[in-house]
């Protein structure tokens, strides 16, 4: 070692090179070496080493101060400096006004996409908000009762036996509350002289108000409905029933209300606010549940605690924090204890719990009492809206990057006059932010003007409140939307900003600029994605349309047109002469000029039928038990509805009897005959079946007919010869002079049933209401498909416009060298057509899968035809050709001299 130039340890020096900023490393390392030598000579090697190490440590990374880059010559202003901001705004404005087409495509697309998205979030939020206004919603469950016979599920419904809730509460400590609900549909309320028909109510236990959060305007929610013959009206119902009440509805408390033929009037003890739209239970009035079996109006003994009659709904409340799965696991044992297999009811009862919050969107039940929606549709619609928005963003990204060529010069000049990359990124990003903001404003305007139309379309009373409203419990969707919109804006803004700001000024200004192949591939992938979405949506809406047309055209086995349904005289007292009275009323109607036929029936087409369990054949030993639907019909029913007999005869008037126990005959439909095991229809005729523990003779077998929409399979139906004054009356009329006919019918009605409320509906309208939800879906999807086509076409238009503009010279050279117009058109459009092919291949399986799932909601459905996809793909292709066609033809036909002259 050289004594005059001692060296400090290598590793310390190495540490220094690693952890000291590189721009001051040279001078610092030199200084430290020099100091080391100095100390070495003054204080010896160990002192020198110690000090050296100490000093090295003092200039390592966290302690040392970094030298800032010297900016003596040019200091670029901050990107937030007002001068720069003004410049960015000015450039953004100039760019957008220079390229009006570009501007329009971007903003129209984005605004439409955002509008669609916000509408769909409104819709989804509304659907998801069902029953969330109940403060204890998380602990409320609905009891679901499935029935099995011979291992086959014969019923899937929340309808169950009246004793079940009480028994559950008794058995399971976690069930802290329960209420029974018995629907009282389409009743007449009478107060003083005022009569109101078609009011829907429910009989509920007093615990109802302890579990649900429906608010009372007047009355004590802890005390109401405790006594029988108490009634609560909704505010609007009360105002209609007592028109002269004025502002203070609370003053009505204590008034008397009759419910149809109630023996004792109900006492009004409460008035509730109208039920919110987003409640799956909808009611105009509530009566004390106990009125069903005690008090002055008792008519239904088994409503209290029966394990055999099943017309009741149960809601239970669990102790907060208890596990519903654990409770459900104990339900098979519960069923065994109370129903002893199929000994009690003739079928095996299986119970499960449905959370209240799922009651609206996840109902595939029969005999449903709540308003139902469809979760698949909600999420599907939301997804489609997002896809549309992403199509618009893709347009933005594509056009911005494709336009990079034009803006490259701007970038080059900015860079060479000192702009840093951060500044450029900020500039382009703020431009896209501005665009998005502008589109948002446009969207806000659009929402304001189109909201009403959209509400009409989806048949909901929606508003922007459902997106940003306070107290909305399903805010996660809104949050998700904001997140997606924000990230979309960021991606759509940052990607082009990064691309644009990456150009090397020297290359650009030399003119050696070309777009990177990676960028082009991405752009192509995005265009494919757009068209895939478009094709899928178009195919989807065609399939929905086809299924709807199928539903409208499918022979139902009965004729619904020109049938009026008159509500029965619900206010009339029943007596033993009801058959004669009904018959003579019918005869009187038939005598009217334009009335072709009239009949009564327990149910009309479109309504749920009663179910009977424990039906069997007498002639087979230990015959299996069957579950069937049952319907009582008048002797004109089959003729009026055009239901054909397969074998045997129709009911005769002698089959009817005031005393139901003397009725001995029945009609089956084909499915029922098959279910009972008769090989042919004619073999069933003359045989008996056991209903209500009595034999009935089968007098005839009818063709199958659709009692409900084609969502539901045709079920076995047993028809009984039965009259009731309270059955609806179907009247077949001729289409001409309908008003006179109606007036005449009304006159007869009023003569026969004075004091009753005459109301009618056309049966086909009523029946087709079952397709309302499907029609909304169809319209929404068609709308979305249209929007997707529009936005994608706009994007393509912009892209092809840019492409032809950028290739003007190439086209010129090609033409000079002898290319024909066709060659050039092919050259320019070939790219895009290939992309659409790829999009087609992506879209078909996805659309097929999703639509297949939608179709499983129908018991009778079309099979998806290949041509649907061909048509959707063809449409996309056609639209693409039209949008590109004009641009390419113009470019191909242009005079090459013009395009080449400028060089």
């Amino acid at each position: 070692m050289n004594k005059s130039h001692p060296n400090p340890p290598r590793w310390a020096h190495w540490l220094l090179t690693k952890l000291h900023p590189s721009d001051t490393l040279e001078e610092v390392a030199g200084d430290l070496d020099e100091l080391y030598t100095y100390w070495y000579h003054r204080a010896g090697p160990s002192q020198a080493l110690l000090r050296y190490l100490f000093n090295v440590a003092s200039v390592l990374s966290p302690f040392v101060r970094r030298r800032r880059r010297q900016q003596t010559y040019h200091q670029s202003p901050s990107i937030l400096h007002p001068v720069m901001l003004r410049n960015y705004l000015f450039i953004a404005w100039r760019n957008s006004t220079r390229n009006k087409l570009y501007f329009l495509i971007n903003h129209a697309g984005l605004a439409i996409g955002m509008t669609a998205c916000i509408f769909m979030v409104e819709y989804a939020n509304f659907e998801l908000s069902y029953d969330t206004f109940n403060q204890q919603a998380g602990d409320l469950y609905r009891v679901v009762n499935d029935r099995y016979q011979d291992g086959k599920r014969v019923q899937h419904s929340p309808m169950t036996y009246s004793a079940v809730g009480q028994a559950m509460r008794h058995e399971f400590p976690e069930v802290i509350n329960h209420t029974r609900v018995a629907p009282l549909a389409s009743r007449i309320l009478i107060a003083d002289d005022q009569k109101m028909g078609k009011q829907n109510g429910m009989a509920v236990d007093p615990s109802f108000f302890g579990m649900f959060s429906y608010q009372l305007i007047a009355g004590n929610r802890d005390l109401v409905l405790r006594e029988p013959d108490e009634i609560i009206l909704s505010e609007s119902c009360a105002r209609k029933l007592f028109p002269d009440v004025g502002s203070n509805v609370a003053s009505l408390i204590g008034r008397l209300v009759n419910l149809e033929r109630s023996a004792v009037p109900y006492k009004l003890t409460g008035i509730c606010y109208d039920v919110p739209d987003n409640s799956h239970l909808q009611f105009d009035f509530l009566v004390a549940y106990s009125s069903l079996y005690r008090g002055g109006n008792r008519y239904w003994k088994s409503a209290d605690s029966s394990f055999t009659e099943s017309y009741f709904y149960h809601y239970i409340q669990l102790k907060p924090g208890s596990d519903p799965k654990r409770l459900e696991a104990q339900l098979p044992g519960f069923s065994q204890r109370y129903f002893r297999g199929n000994k009690v009811t003739g079928s095996t009862e299986k119970f499960s719990l449905q959370p209240l919050l799922k009651a609206h969107l996840y109902s595939d039940f029969g005999a449903e009492i709540g308003k139902t929606g469809n979760a698949t549709i909600v999420w599907g619609a939301l997804l489609s809206a997002l896809l549309i928005l992403s199509i618009a963003w893709i347009n933005y990204i594509n056009l911005a990057t494709a336009r990079a060529v034009e803006r490259a010069k701007e970038v080059g000049i900015r860079k060479s006059s000192g702009a840093t990359r951060t500044q450029l990124v900020f500039q382009f990003f703020s431009e896209s932010l501005l665009s998005n903001f502008l589109s948002m404003l446009l969207a806000a305007g659009l929402i304001y003007f189109v909201q009403a139309r959209f509400n009409e379309l989806v048949q909901r009373n929606l508003s922007i409140h459902y997106v940003f409203g306070e107290g909305l419990q399903s805010n996660s969707v809104t949050f998700g939307l904001l997140l997606i919109i924000l990230s979309g804006i960021c991606i759509a803004g940052f990607y082009p900003a990064l691309v644009l700001s990456s150009f090397k000024p020297v290359d650009v200004l030399k003119g050696k600029f070309s777009t990177s192949s990676r960028g082009v591939i991405l752009r192509k992938a995005l265009v494919s994605g757009q068209f895939a979405v478009t094709i899928a949506l178009v195919a989807g809406s065609i399939i929905i349309y086809q299924q709807m047309r199928y539903a409208a055209q499918k022979p139902l086995g009965l004729t619904l047109s020109q049938v009026l349904v008159i509500s029965p005289p619900q206010l009339l007292e029943n007596d033993s002469s009801f058959i004669t009275r009904s018959r003579s009323f019918k005869e009187e109607l038939k005598n009217l000029v334009h009335v072709k036929a009239a009949t009564n029936s327990g149910r009309i087409p479109g309504e749920d039928l009663h179910r009977m369990f424990d039906v069997h054949r007498p002639d087979k030993l230990s015959s299996p038990r069957f579950a069937v639907n049952n319907m009582s019909i008048g002797e004109d029913f089959l003729d009026l509805y055009d239901i054909k007999l397969l074998a045997g005869r129709n009911f005769r008037s002698t089959d009817y009897n005031e005393d139901l126990s003397k009725v001995r005959t029945t009609l089956l439909n084909e499915s029922a005959a098959k279910l009972f095991g008769f090989p042919t229809a004619s073999e069933a005729v003359g045989k008996s079946i056991i209903l209500y523990e009595r034999p009935y003779e089968i007098v005839g077998v009818t063709h199958d007919f659709h009692q409900k929409s084609i969502h539901h399979p045709v079920e076995p139906v047993v028809m009984m010869p039965n009259y009731s004054l309270y059955n609806p009356i179907s009247v077949k009329v001729e289409p001409n002079e309908l008003t006179t006919t109606l007036a005449a019918i009304r006159q007869v009605y009023d003569r026969f049933f004075p004091g009753n409320v005459f109301a009618y509906r056309f049966l086909d309208d009523q029946f087709n209401e079952q397709y309302n939800a499907d029609r909304v879906v169809g319209k929404v999807f068609a709308l979305f498909a249209g929007l997707a086509v529009l936005i994608a076409a706009l994007g393509l238009l912009g892209l092809s416009w840019l492409a032809t503009r950028q290739r003007t010279r190439e086209i010129g050279v090609r033409k000079v060298l002898g290319a024909s117009v066709q060659n050039i058109v092919l050259l320019l459009s070939g790219d895009f057509l290939g992309l659409i092919l790829i999009a087609f291949l992506v879209a078909v399986p996805v659309a097929w899968f999703v639509m297949q799932r939608w179709l499983t909601g129908f018991a009778y459905r079309i099979s998806i035809n290949a041509w649907v996809f061909v048509a959707a793909g063809g449409l996309a292709l056609l639209i693409a050709l039209i949008t590109i066609g004009y641009q390419t033809l113009k470019a191909a036909n242009a005079n090459p001299v013009k395009s080449l002259r400028s060089e």
Partner: protein, 112 residues
Amino acid sequence: MRRTYLGELEEIVLLMVAILDGDGYGVTISQAIEEHTGRIVVFGSIHNTLIRLEEKGFVRSELGGATAERGGRRKRLFRITGLGSRALQEIQQLRQELWQLVPPVSLRLSGL
């Protein structure tokens, strides 16, 4: 004009730069401080202070004067700027003015 604040070490380092008159760099400055004040200041503090002084515009620097002793590395030589000397003079003047205000008695008494 608001007087730029100078910390105690900053003032001493700045003075040393002025004293060394163009020959001041990390080594000479730390040696001078040790020599004139008896304080041993860790090198990192001097380095940081010099950078801070340069940022404030009190000194300017250039690279040069490589020697074999330093393994051929250049030094960063510091020179005081007009602003720096103004700052030093202002501090000096301020001190002087303050000295004038001290009543002689108080110093004498405390000195006793």
